[in-house]
C-alpha cells in the first residue's frame, strides 16, 4: 500500500461522472403504462408505444419534463428557453424501436454546479428493456422484458472535476439526497433506479491539460462498487503509465465477482448514433413564468434546511445534519416541535429521533412527545434551587431571551431544555416553563 501511495504521488486522477436516475412518475416517459416496474412479472406493463410497435407514437410525460427541470434548477443549471428530443440510434435487442428517444444538443438543463463540481448538462430520455439470459429446456436463450422500456430516465453529466474517490463519494451521496428531497426518484442503486458511469483518467501532477483519453466504466450498481471500480482503474492506469504504456480511450465493464474492470469497447468501435431531431415530438419552449412555477415546487433543500434548524432550534451541526438527512425525517421533527401545547425542547425531540431510532412510520409526532414526557422523571427540586437555575439560564442565554421577547416561541423551548439539562432531566418541564415565563415577564417590567 505504501508503495502504491508513493506512486500515486506523481499522478493525479481525473474523474467525471454520468449518473442515470429513473424518475418515479406515475406513467412512463411516452405512454400511459405505469413507470414502477420493479419486481413486476415480465412484459406485464407494456403497450404499443413502449413495445415500439409499427405506427405507435410517443407523447412526452409533462411531469417527467418538470422533474428534470426541477433537478436542473436544484443543481444551479441554466434552463434554456428551448429544448427538444432527439433520436439516438443503435441496435440492441432491448431497444424495440432501434433508437432511443434522448436529448442531444439542446438538453433541458446546462452549465450548473453542485458543491465544487460543475454540472455540464441534465437531460431526459427513455430507459430500455432488459435482457435475461436463461436456460429453457436445456437451451441457452436470451429473453427480453420490456417492462422497463420507456421509463423516464434523467442523465446528469458532470465536468471532470473530481480528483479523489472521497469527492466522488460525497457528491453521489449529496446528489442522491437532493433527488430524494425533490421527490422525483428513490434513486436506489440496488434497484437500478440510480446508475453511475464514471470516466477515469490519470495525468502527471502539475499538468494543466486533461489527458487525451478517458476510460468509461459501466455496469456499476452500488456506491461500494463505484468505489471499487474507480480504485481498480486508478491502479491499472497508474501501473500502465509507470511501465511506459499509454492507456487507451475505452469503455470497460465492472466485473463484480473479480472486483476488476474488463475492456468492452475501444474508441474505434464507438457507435455512430446518427442523432437527429425526434420528428414525433414538437420542440419545447418555456416561458419564464412556467420556469418560476417549477422553481417554486422545489422547496427547501438539505443544506438550507440544516442551516435553518441550527439557527431556529439551537441545534448543533451534528444533530441538524442527521435530522435533515431525509426530508421525511426533517418534516417529522418540525411537526413535533410545532405542537404548541408541548413543553419538550427541540433538542430533546432531536435526541429522541436520532438516538432512540424512532420508527417515523409508526409513531406520530404527538405520540413521540408523550413518550418523551413520560420518560422525564419528575422529582421535587427545591424552590430555591429552581430559582437559582432560572436566573442562571436567563443570564447565560440573553439572545434566546431576546428572541422569546420578540415573539419566537422556539426560544422558550430552548430555555426549558437548558433547565432540564441543569437539573439532569429531573425537573418538570411545565414548571420550568412557567417559572421562566414569569421571570422574563417580571424582568421586563
Amino acid at each position: 500500500m505504501a508503495h502504491k501511495m508513493a506512486k500515486n504521488m506523481k499522478y493525479e486522477t481525473i474523474i467525471g461522472l454520468e449518473v442515470h436516475v429513473e424518475l418515479a412518475t406515475k406513467s412512463k416517459m411516452f405512454c400511459g403504462c405505469p413507470a414502477d416496474h420493479f419486481g413486476k412479472a415480465p412484459n406485464t406493463i407494456t403497450c404499443p408505444v413502449c413495445l415500439g410497435l409499427p405506427g405507435a407514437l410517443p407523447v412526452p410525460n409533462k411531469k417527467a419534463v418538470e422533474s428534470t427541470i426541477m433537478l436542473g434548477l436544484a443543481l444551479e443549471c441554466e434552463i434554456p428557453l428551448e429544448s427538444k428530443f432527439d433520436r439516438k440510434h443503435y441496435f440492441y435487442p432491448d431497444l424495440p424501436k432501434g433508437y432511443q428517444i434522448s436529448q442531444y444538443d439542446q438538453p433541458l438543463a446546462i452549465n450548473g454546479s453542485f458543491g465544487n463540481v460543475r454540472i455540464r448538462r441534465v437531460h431526459l430520455e427513455e430507459d430500455t428493456g432488459k435482457l435475461q439470459h436463461a436456460t429453457i429446456e436445456g437451451e441457452a436463450v436470451s429473453l427480453v422484458d420490456f417492462n422497463r422500456s420507456g421509463v423516464p430516465l434523467v442523465e446528469i453529466v458532470t465536468e471532470p472535476d473530481f480528483r479523489t474517490l472521497e469527492e466522488v463519494d460525497v457528491f453521489l451521496k449529496k446528489l442522491q439526497q437532493i433527488i430524494r428531497y425533490l421527490g422525483i426518484s428513490n434513486a436506489d442503486m440496488e434497484k437500478g433506479s440510480m446508475r453511475i458511469e464514471p470516466s477515469v483518467s490519470i495525468r502527471t501532477l502539475k499538468t494543466e491539460e486533461l489527458p487525451l483519453y478517458r476510460v468509461e466504466i459501466k455496469n456499476i450498481n452500488s456506491f461500494k462498487f463505484a468505489r471499487k471500480a474507480i480504485e481498480y482503474e486508478i491502479e491499472r492506469q497508474t501501473e500502465m503509465l509507470e511501465s511506459g504504456e499509454q492507456p487507451k480511450q475505452q469503455t470497460r465493464g465492472f466485473v463484480e465477482s473479480k472486483g476488476n474492470t474488463a475492456a468492452q469497447r475501444d474508441k474505434e468501435e464507438a457507435h455512430d448514433y446518427r442523432y437527429f431531431p425526434e420528428p414525433d415530438i414538437p420542440p419545447m419552449r418555456w416561458k419564464s413564468s412556467q420556469l418560476s412555477a417549477i422553481s417554486r415546487q422545489i422547496g427547501e433543500l438539505p443544506d438550507a434546511k440544516k442551516g435553518r434548524f441550527m439557527k431556529d432550534y439551537y441545534l448543533n451541526d451534528y444533530d441538524a445534519t442527521l435530522l435533515t438527512e431525509a426530508r421525511a425525517r426533517a418534516e417529522y421533527f418540525e411537526k413535533a416541535v410545532s405542537i404548541q401545547s408541548s413543553v419538550v425542547s427541540p433538542k430533546a425531540i432531536a435526541n429522541w429521533i436520532i438516538n432512540k431510532k424512532i420508527d417515523l412510520e409508526k409513531v406520530t409526532p404527538a405520540q413521540l412527545l408523550d413518550q418523551i414526557l413520560q420518560s422525564t422523571q419528575t422529582t421535587s427540586v427545591s424552590d430555591n434551587e429552581l430559582e437559582k437555575i432560572i436566573k442562571q439560564i436567563l443570564s447565560e442565554n440573553e439572545k434566546a431571551v431576546e428572541d422569546y421577547k420578540s415573539g419566537k416561541d422556539q426560544a422558550l423551548m430552548f430555555l426549558v431544555g437548558q433547565g432540564l439539562k441543569s437539573l439532569s432531566q429531573k425537573g418538570n418541564a411545565s414548571i420550568i416553563r412557567e417559572r421562566l415565563i414569569n421571570a422574563i415577564k417580571s424582568s421586563a417590567q
Partner: protein, 470 residues
C-alpha cells in the same frame, strides 16, 4: 342500382330510403372485389366476415334511428394503417404476418363514424414509390388501362375506389402518395395540413412529412370523410388543438374574387407533357370563367425541392425502419425490398457523423426556404393551382429500373410536403382515355377553402363522372 356510380352521398341516400340494407351494400362490394380484383390487385386482405358483421351492426343501428355520418359505408384502408385483429403488412414482406393489437386513431374514428373497413389495400412497400410497383406483393393495375400504373404509393386504394370496389379509401401522403394515385385514377384525394390528421397507428415513413389522407369520387365525399378523420388526437403530439370546421358547409359557394396563383416554375418545367400542360391551362381558364383571379406567382426554390426531399425523407425512413430489426415479426432485414434498402442506405449515410452537416442539416435549411416560398406566395394568393403530375399514367415497368425518373414524377407534389401545407388532387381532364389531375394547394389549415374551390370547379365540369369500364 348501378353500384359502379355510387358515391358516399348517394349510398347514404340509398340506405336512408331503405332501397337496400348496409349488409346488401357491403355484400355487393365484397362480391365485386371477388369478381374483378384478380385483374387489378388492389387488395392485400379482404375482411369479408368482419365487414358483413359490421354491416349487420350498422343495419341494427339504423333500425334504432342511430345516426352516424358514415354509417354503413364500405371503406378500404391502405395497408400502412394498423387495424386491430386484421393483418397489416405495409406492403412489405418483412411484416407479412403482423396482426396489430390496436387500431390506428383514424381507423378508430372511421369505425366510430359508422364506416365499415372491408379490407386492406396494396401499396408500394412502406409508402416508398410513385407507381405501386414497389409492393413486395403484386403490382396494382390502373383500372383505366390495365397495362399502366395507378400511381403510388397508395396504389391499391386509388384502384379500389376507381374500380368501384369501395366508396372511399385511406392513403398516406409523404411526397405524393395520395395525390398522384388520385390523379392517375381520376379521384379527389386530400393531402392534409401536416398535423391535421393523427398519424397514430399509421406505420411511419418519414414522420415529419407523413400526412394521413383519403380518396373519393367527389369533393363532397372527400370533405365528409375529412370531417371524421381530422382534429387533435392525444396519441399524436404533432396534432395541434385547432377546431375542425364543417367542411361540407364550405362547398357549393362561388369563387368570384378568389386569388388563384400559378407557379411559373411549374409550367415551364422541361419534360412536362404537352397534353398535361394543355389540360392544366384549360382548367385554369375554367377557374377564371368561374370568377377567380388567375395570378402568376413564383416559388423560387422549386429546383432544390427534390434534392432536399430525398435527403430528409430517407434519413427519417432509415430511422423508422430500424425497428424491423430481425428479432421480432419473423423475418430478417434481408427481407427488405430494393427501394427500402436504397432509402435505408441513403438515410444512414446522410445522418452519419461527418456527413450530417453537409447533408441532413443543409437540407433542413433548404426546407425552411421552401416553406418560406409558400408563405410568401400565400401573401398574394388564396390558393395555388398546379399540375399534379408532369405526365400521364405510365406503363408498368417503364420507370421501375430508373429510380431517379420515378422520383421526378413527384416534382410538383414533394414541395407541398416539405412546406407542410394542404393540397387536393381534383380530376381535370382526359387524354387518350387516361385521367389528368390538378392540385389545389392552400396555406396551413385552409382545407375548407380548398374544398370550396374544388367543389365549384367540379360543379362546372364532368370529369369526375367518367368511370372505367371494368
Amino acid at each position: 342500382m348501378e353500384i359502379n356510380s355510387l358515391t358516399i352521398q348517394s349510398a347514404l341516400d340509398v340506405l336512408k330510403k331503405k332501397e337496400c340494407s348496409a349488409r346488401e351494400l357491403v355484400a355487393f362490394y365484397l362480391d365485386r372485389i371477388e369478381k374483378i380484383d384478380g385483374k387489378i390487385n388492389a387488395f392485400l386482405t379482404v375482411d369479408r366476415e368482419g365487414a358483413l358483421q359490421q354491416a349487420d351492426e350498422a343495419d341494427s343501428m339504423r333500425a334504432n334511428d342511430v345516426t352516424k355520418p358514415l354509417l354503413g359505408m364500405p371503406i378500404a384502408c391502405k395497408d400502412l394503417f394498423t387495424t386491430k385483429g386484421l393483418r397489416t403488412t405495409a406492403g412489405a414482406k418483412i411484416i407479412d404476418n403482423y396482426v396489430p393489437p390496436f387500431d390506428a386513431s383514424v381507423v378508430g374514428r372511421l369505425k366510430e363514424a359508422g364506416a365499415i373497413i372491408i379490407g386492406k389495400t396494396n401499396e408500394d412497400a412502406w409508402g416508398h414509390g410513385s407507381s405501386g410497383e414497389n409492393s413486395d406483393f403484386d403490382v396494382t393495375k390502373n383500372p383505366y388501362d390495365l397495362t399502366r400504373v395507378p400511381g403510388g404509393s397508395s396504389s391499391g386504394s386509388a384502384a379500389a375506389v376507381a374500380a368501384g370496389m369501395c366508396l372511399a379509401a385511406t392513403g398516406t401522403d409523404t411526397g405524393s402518395s395520395v395525390r398522384l394515385p388520385a390523379a392517375f385514377c381520376n379521384l379527389v384525394g386530400i393531402k392534409p395540413t401536416y398535423g391535421r390528421v393523427s398519424r397514430y397507428g399509421v406505420i411511419a415513413m418519414a414522420s415529419s412529412f407523413d400526412t394521413i389522407g383519403h380518396m373519393t369520387k367527389t369533393v363532397a365525399d372527400c370533405a365528409l370523410v375529412y370531417e371524421t378523420t381530422s382534429g387533435k388526437d392525444l396519441f399524436d403530439g404533432t396534432t395541434p388543438d385547432i377546431d375542425v370546421p364543417s367542411y361540407a358547409k364550405s362547398l357549393g359557394k362561388g369563387i368570384a374574387g378568389t386569388r388563384v396563383g400559378i407557379p411559373k416554375e411549374y409550367l415551364s418545367l422541361p419534360g412536362m407533357a404537352a397534353e398535361v400542360k394543355a389540360a392544366t391551362q384549360q382548367a385554369m381558364k375554367t377557374l377564371g370563367l368561374l370568377g377567380a383571379d388567375i395570378i402568376e406567382i413564383s416559388l423560387p426554390h422549386t429546383e432544390y425541392a427534390m434534392a432536399c426531399y430525398y435527403i430528409l425523407v430517407p434519413s427519417e425512413v432509415s430511422s423508422n425502419l430500424s425497428r424491423y430489426d430481425g428479432i421480432r415479426y419473423g423475418h430478417e432485414r434481408s427481407a427488405f425490398g430494393a427501394e427500402a434498402k436504397r432509402r435505408i442506405v441513403l438515410g444512414t449515410f446522410a445522418l452519419s457523423a461527418g456527413y450530417y452537416d453537409a447533408y441532413y442539416k443543409k437540407a433542413a435549411k433548404v426546407r425552411t426556404l421552401i416553406k418560406k416560398d409558400f408563405d410568401d406566395a400565400f401573401g398574394a394568393v388564396d390558393v395555388i393551382m398546379a399540375p399534379s403530375s408532369p405526365a400521364l399514367p405510365f406503363r408498368i415497368g417503364e420507370k421501375s429500373e430508373d429510380p431517379l425518373a420515378m422520383y421526378l414524377s413527384d416534382i410538383f407534389m414533394c414541395p407541398v410536403n416539405i412546406a407542410g401545407v394542404p393540397a387536393l388532387n381534383v380530376p381535370c381532364g382526359f387524354v387518350d382515355g387516361l385521367p389528368v389531375g390538378m392540385q389545389l394547394i392552400g396555406p396551413q389549415f385552409s382545407e375548407a377553402r380548398l374544398f370550396g374551390v374544388a367543389s365549384a370547379y367540379e360543379a362546372a365540369t364532368q370529369w369526375h363522372t367518367k368511370w372505367p369500364k371494368t
